[in-house]
Amino acid sequence: MAQEYEKIVKDALLSVAPDLEGEEIVPDETFRDQFEIDSIDFLNYVIGLSKATGLDIPEVDYSELESLQGAVAYLRRRKASMGF
Amino acid sequence: MTARTITYRDAVYEALREALRGDERVFLMGEDVGYYGGAYACSKGLIQEFGEERIRDTPLSESGFVGAGIGAALGGMRPIVEIMTVNFSLLALDQIVNNAATLRHMSGGQLSVPLVIRMATGAGRQLAAQHSHSLECWFAHVPGIKVVAPATIEDARGMLSTALADPDPVIIFEHATLYNEQGELPETDDYAKDIESARISRTGGDITLITYGGSLQKAMAAAEDLAKDGVDCEVIDLRSLRPVDDATIMASLAKTHRAVIVDEGWRSVGLAAEISARISEQAFFDLDGPVARVCSAEVPIPYPRHLEMAATPQPDKIAAAAREVLRR
């Protein structure tokens, strides 16, 4: 199941920054530190996650989605609370 | 608005007739303009209407009767002198350059020469070198005279009255191949046309074709040909060869960045060279390529048709030059 969430996060990120194709992502480091993602990119990334998972993600949760590890953990938690 | 289909020759005739009826001081003078009706039949019927006094056949004395025309203008008349073709004007160059163009300035502004000279010009009828010259640039070089080239029916009809109203000498060049051309002349009560500005005959954005007189239709044909492969030409009809309407030219260059000048005169020291120099002075930073010139080959125009065509600007050469400037 973790792989599935990881793919969703990577896909959302690539849709915003296609040039990151094939880049190594350090799981516990924020995307902004690794890849110069700015606020507009981040917003579109979050929108991508929301569309892919059907979850509505409030602004206050944004900070949890800033790294691969954090985002996967968040998705697993939200899905679990929905009885998946 | 109604319009009539008439020939270029009819337009010239109507302009002459209107001028003669409108002002007693106006009279027409030249070789065979009277009983013969004009070498190109532009004044046929005028002598029957206005009589020998105002439609004056002259002996073959170009220097003589052009000089006399200048004198009559000084004396208060408004002569229209017809030199059969620019080829014979060489015999009257002294009178035109040293008298007509110079008297006002040289007399400290006292004397005025309100004279109009009309001449046929250009090649295209296999008349060989001595009868096929295009020497408009010789006259456009001289300060003190205005030089115009009516390329359309409207201009052939409308330029004469403006020229006659001008206190200074005006030379009107009518390309010999245009007389038979037919076209629409919109009905109006005032046909007068300005004689100092150029006209955009075709708007376009990719390249500007600049030309005048007998070459206008060739440039338009080249533009149609180029349109087939997506090149959108702007065609400028200079109409006035002195003064030159720089503003219209430079505005077009600012848009298209590329220019081809079509001039039936010879390339060296010609009118196209003058226009090209003005463009490099005023629109240099707009240029995306050298200004091209399509002129007559540097040869006396030969008699055989295929050599005359080879020697003079043609639509295919204009299109080829445009493609070169467009780097395509």
């Binding site: 507009i40 602004e59 | 009706g37 039949a41 009828r125 960045h257 707009d286 050469k317």
Partner: protein, 398 residues
């Protein structure tokens, strides 16, 4: 049987009107006889026949306008039997009669502008040089055309402007922009601007707390794709301020300030790995915040995808550069020539701030206004910032 055709009677005669026949069918004719009269522009001309025989049949009627070369009548040679039945005669096409067997001029004409080859090396056209300067493109980064020339098409390809219909669409890279090229182009432009423009700087720290709370409340009621970033209201406030200060919104052209009649705000957008490009949002003062958000989003995508329009790149009247959150507090921006002003915003961060005499934590943003001293002075820049601050202070008013 020989055909008698409308003769060419002059160098520019294309046709003639038959006035009358002077011989009737069946009568004898001799070489040199006048057979008919034709009217031309010059008047009526008698036309002669050039062989002996009998005028067999007349094809044209008086009054008809007949092109040169068309058959008018048949002449039966003496002693030739009369033809009972005559095949329908197709009139000979004029063109063939008009220019008998002159050689075709199909040979390729020598190049109309045949000049000796250019001096070797790369040649850049004047129009190309001007576009490069306007868009701060580094010339050394440009690709040279196959003919050794860098022209408008080459420059337009490099700055990603919509190519004019003429140029073949340039082979687009993944994102259409060569990062190395852009880096060098920006460096060259910045160097020139910094060197030539006498900058002055004024800074102001602005309390953005009310703005951020207002945004959070808005976003809470909105679906995720409609949520706003503070960049949108910030852009609107900056645009409205430039509208209020026309002497700061325009360009410097050969030493004289020319005020712009529109407010087009150039947005500094980072293109990963390449650096900054500043396409403008046109008439930014006339759009509401939601529209500006959509335009911003679209602009960022196109800037990175190489799809910017040349108008966007050349029509900016002033520029806004926003570092964004978790970056730095403040910056000293460089003006983009030929503009005369730029607004630089640092990150929004929580810092101590005095409100009604007490020190409290507030979300603060440091804004720096850089102006061209040839067009305005520090005092004017400071007035601009205080007006901007008042707008940002009342987000609901934007």
């Amino acid at each position: 049987m020989s055909e008698f055709r409308m003769p060419s009677l002059g160098a520019d005669m294309e046709s003639g009107r038959l006035v009358e026949w002077l011989k009737s069918p069946g009568t004898e004719v001799e070489r040199g006889d006048i057979i008919a009269v034709v009217d031309t522009q010059k008047g009526a001309i008698e036309i002669e026949v050039f062989e002996d025989g009998v005028l067999e049949e007349i094809l044209a009627e008086p009054g008809e306008e007949i092109p040169v070369g068309r058959t008018l009548a048949y002449i039966r040679a003496p002693g030739e039997p009369a033809r009972e039945q005559r095949a329908a005669e197709k009139p000979k096409p004029e063109s063939e009669a008009e220019t008998p067997h002159t050689p075709s001029t199909a040979k390729p004409t020598p190049s109309a502008t045949a000049y000796p080859p250019r001096t070797p090396g790369v040649h850049m056209t004047p129009a190309a040089r001007r576009l490069i300067a306007e868009h701060q493109v580094d010339p050394s980064t440009l690709k040279v055309g196959p003919d050794g020339v860098i022209g408008l098409s080459e420059v337009k390809a490099a700055i990603g402007a919509a190519p004019t219909p003429l140029e073949a669409r340039p082979k687009s890279k993944a994102r259409g922009i060569d990062p190395g090229e852009m880096r060098r182009a920006i460096a060259a432009a910045m160097m020139r601007a910094n060197h030539e423009i006498p900058h002055y700087y004024v800074t102001l720290t602005i309390d953005m707390t009310r703005m951020m709370n207002w945004l959070a409340a808005r976003n809470a009621e909105r679906a995720i794709e409609d949520r706003l970033l503070y960049a949108a209201p910030l852009l609107r406030a900056v645009a409205l301020s430039f509208a209020k200060f026309p002497d700061l919104n325009g360009t410097l052209e050969n030493g004289a300030f020319v005020p712009a009649d529109r407010v087009n705000i150039g947005m500094a957008i980072a293109v990963r790995g390449c650096g900054l490009i500043t396409p403008a949002i046109l008439d930014a003062d006339r759009h509401d915040i939601d529209t500006l958000m959509t335009k911003l989003n679209d602009l960022v995508k196109r800037a990175r995808g190489g799809g910017l329009r040349s108008s966007e790149l050349s029509m900016g009247t002033a520029t806004l550069t926003n570092l964004g959150d978790r970056t730095a507090d403040g910056l000293m921006p460089i003006i983009f020539p030929p503009q005369v002003a730029i607004v630089g915003c640092g990150q929004i961060s929580e810092r101590p701030w005095v409100v009604e005499g007490e020190v409290v934590a507030r979300q603060l943003m440091e804004i720096t206004f850089a102006g061209d001293h040839r067009a305005s002075d520090g005092r004017r820049g400071a007035q601009f910032l205080s007006h901007l601050a008042s707008l940002l202070g009342k987000p609901e008013g934007l």
